[in-house]
Amino acid sequence: MTEAHDAGSTPSLRIIGQALPRFDVAEKVAGSTLYAADWQLPGMLAGRILRSIYASARIRRLDVSRARGLPGVSAVLTARDIPCNAIRVDPTGLGGTPFETPILAAERVRYQGEPIALVAAESDPQARAALEAIEVDYEPVPAVLDAETALREDAPRVHEGHDNLLVHWKLRHGRVEEAFRTADVIVERTYRTQWADHAYLEPEAGVAWTDAHGVVNIRSATQVLEHFREVAEVLGLPQNRVRIIAPFLGGGFGGKEDMTVEPHVALLAWKTGRPVRMLWSRYESLLARPKRHPFTMRYKTGAARDGRLVAQEITLLADAGPYPLLSPRVVFAALVVGAGPYRVPNVKVDAKAVFTNNVPTSAMRGFGAMQVTFAYESQMELLAERLGVPPLELRARNFLRKGDRLPTGEEIGTAVALPTVSQRAISALGARTAPSSRSARVGQGFACNIQPYGRTVWFRDRASAWIGFEADGSLVVRTGVPDLGGGQAASLAQIAAEILGVGLDRVAVHFGDSALTPPAGGTFATRQLYMSGNAVWKAATELRALMAPVAASVLEAAAADVQFADDHVSVVGTPDRRIPLARVVAECGRRDVPTALLSAFRGEEAAPVDLETGQGRTFPDYTFGCHAAEVEVDTETGVTKLLKHAACHDVGRAINPQSVEGQIQGGAVMGIGQALMEEIVVEGGNNLTTLFASYLIPTALDVPDIRPIVVESGEGKGPFKARGIGEPPTGPPPAAIAAAIFDAVGVRLQELPMTPERVFKAMEALRRGAAGDT
């Protein structure tokens, strides 16, 4: 097992920890970045998908003959035209029954918007005309419309021959029943979170073409290059005949982690022999792209009079839509951190994902750990009230510490800076703002969270990177990391530049090409800094170790006495004894010492958890944070305005502080959106929020300045002791805002989003209750 190493033995860092401009921002600002839909090839066709209008139906008849005959139409494909129309997955990753997810529905559709046929035509209007000419006779079939009824014995089956229960994770630690008997206070509540959409500004898109070598190339907005293997299986091709290129993405957030257009454009390109481009409309994206799981969370929390938690009993129910996708893993993450960042000696969690005919659900930034934050922090607030203990004090009495064990039994091996992050976030709020009108009330609140980073340790995660010098001493990094916009590629450049002493502007990063860049695994699970960052760190360190003795001999010094900095190698303490990197490269060439190498980083590995108790190693590490919010509630309408928001996380070490702060700000606003306004509404299997006019994400007027506060404990499992920061900031906002609303108007909301109407109704109920009405 490789551990990340500190740069402690080197003198102060020159590039790590600097807020240096990212190389990709200048070209984005110039408008010259070519995203997936911006790629044009001669003879390119327009691809479109025919999607099911029903949530649950049999396809009795599918007739594409008229569509095939329309002018400009090159191909119309149905399930029977696909060599292998199913992706077989092991949903839990633990060797369970494999599950088949079709590329195109054959006899059965299971969600509204499920793809049934593909069209490629000379122009987009012709492709749309072809879609309209496809004749489909549906026979609606009883649907499963919510997660609770899905579990009933008499519920229709989403998949014939399969139970609607996709997975049931269990965690058993200690003895909760006995513990509750000793508890002085018990609070029991049910919380609900909603379906949410990633709402990246760039809709799903990609172009596929077959090149002169017969390789199917796909250039698409994807977070995972490794999907080339699944596409190869679909096409019935060897894996080395499919290539996926990921350009800069216009946002991913987990929504481009499962395959999007890849199998579709590949099939159309492969069948027509021509390049095919597909760009989903926003309507399609909102309708059918897998969403964040809505969770129903039942929490029973027991504490002693002094505030120490004694037990948590939790049931989590997630609507997994009709196909597994990443649901089991999302729910597993929720299981592991469901009790919150607290010492709880007795924990029982049952976390279930169930099939329904609702919109599919899969990965979204926060990945299960986000939803439970709302529940466990709301419980803490309630407990604090019941015990008469100040909320921060209650947290402080229970915060996890380094060396403690999580409810999974595993020891936390890195710093847990919760006291610091909570104190910093809360004090950043400052004095309460005066209300702006007679009917307004202002409140403040905070929430802490724990978010895993890195994939579960039984996945044997790997990432590789290639680093090499050019003859002139400039550096090339090649890595399969897709860059979603979070500065993934830029931070790798910083790491390489730091270790090998190359000026940041003399480092080129080539990323995201499965044919040309070494595999790094996808950009998700907040894993890239931990995995690829460490891979680059490792490659750079190994290369430095090979080249240092050569440089040292030229400088007539010991290898341990040379340093790489400012495009030179010099002797420590005597800066004028130095040679340019180009000279070192040349000398290495003469002596047959490599100036380039490929290295792989292996993530922590362990056996899978016990399936009955959830005990064992799970994630490599966690990021801890706290957000504090101030809101103003209009007591006549329930409209809640966010006045202040501070977001503090311990990131171990900030590779690029500016990028880290940007991630914190953006993640916080995503969480704020879910707290107050975002909701995919699905009724009777029909998705009613298929436009940006109805799926509301925050605008510049809906959020104040987000104050990011970066704490660096100096401990983490990433390069230079960094910790992942992509996902953690999405978790705390809903609970922090809920606490602030309670502080303002005395109501506790248990359902997201906390719309004006919900706040209003809660206040009305409180008024009626206070007035003695039943």
Partner: protein
């Protein structure tokens, strides 16, 4: 159906361009597919997200909600029209200096709206900047840095103080 295309001439970033456009092509389609101006993006097709923003005779509009043929004889500016011989516009430099772009997809539209706004309001407050940008969605930055960059530019510095 017969796709009838008509001659279209307008000024794009200060230079005359010619295209053949069918009536049912939006200006967004004409710009991206006929003229290679892929810096103008498709984000929603409803006029809500702002990624398709262009300036039409100096006014920010949704290219997805205008017909290509409606640009006949007009002046269209995309983000590429903001930089000139002197290099990037101060707004663009401010965005880079403050990392006001992450994925960058909203950035071209955001810059154009900010540019048009600052032309009419050279000394805005942060609240006024937020109100001006409220029609352009961003999912990555949380907006604070974008407001910082516009404010800095208005204060006369595209670059951060040395």
């Amino acid at each position: 159906m017969v796709i009838e295309r008509r001659p279209l001439r307008f000024s794009l970033n200060g230079r005359p361009v010619d295209a053949l456009a069918a009536p049912h092509e939006t200006l967004l389609a004409t710009l991206r597919d006929s003229l290679g101006a892929t810096e103008v993006k498709y984000g929603c097709g409803e006029g809500v997200c702002g990624t398709c923003t262009v300036l039409l005779d100096g006014a920010p509009v949704n290219a997805c909600l205008i017909l290509g043929l409606q640009a006949q004889g007009r002046a269209v500016t995309t983000v590429k029209g903001l930089s000139g011989e002197a290099g990037p516009h101060p707004l663009q430099r401010a965005f880079v200096a403050r990392e006001a772009a992450q994925c960058g997809f909203c950035t071209p539209g955001m810059l154009l709206v900010a540019y048009a706004f600052l032309r009419e309001h050279p000394n805005p407050t942060r609240e006024e900047i937020r109100a001006a940008l409220a029609g352009n969605l961003c999912r990555c930055t949380g907006y604070t840095r974008i407001v910082d960059a516009v404010e800095a530019c208005a204060a006369g510095g595209g670059d951060p103080p040395v």
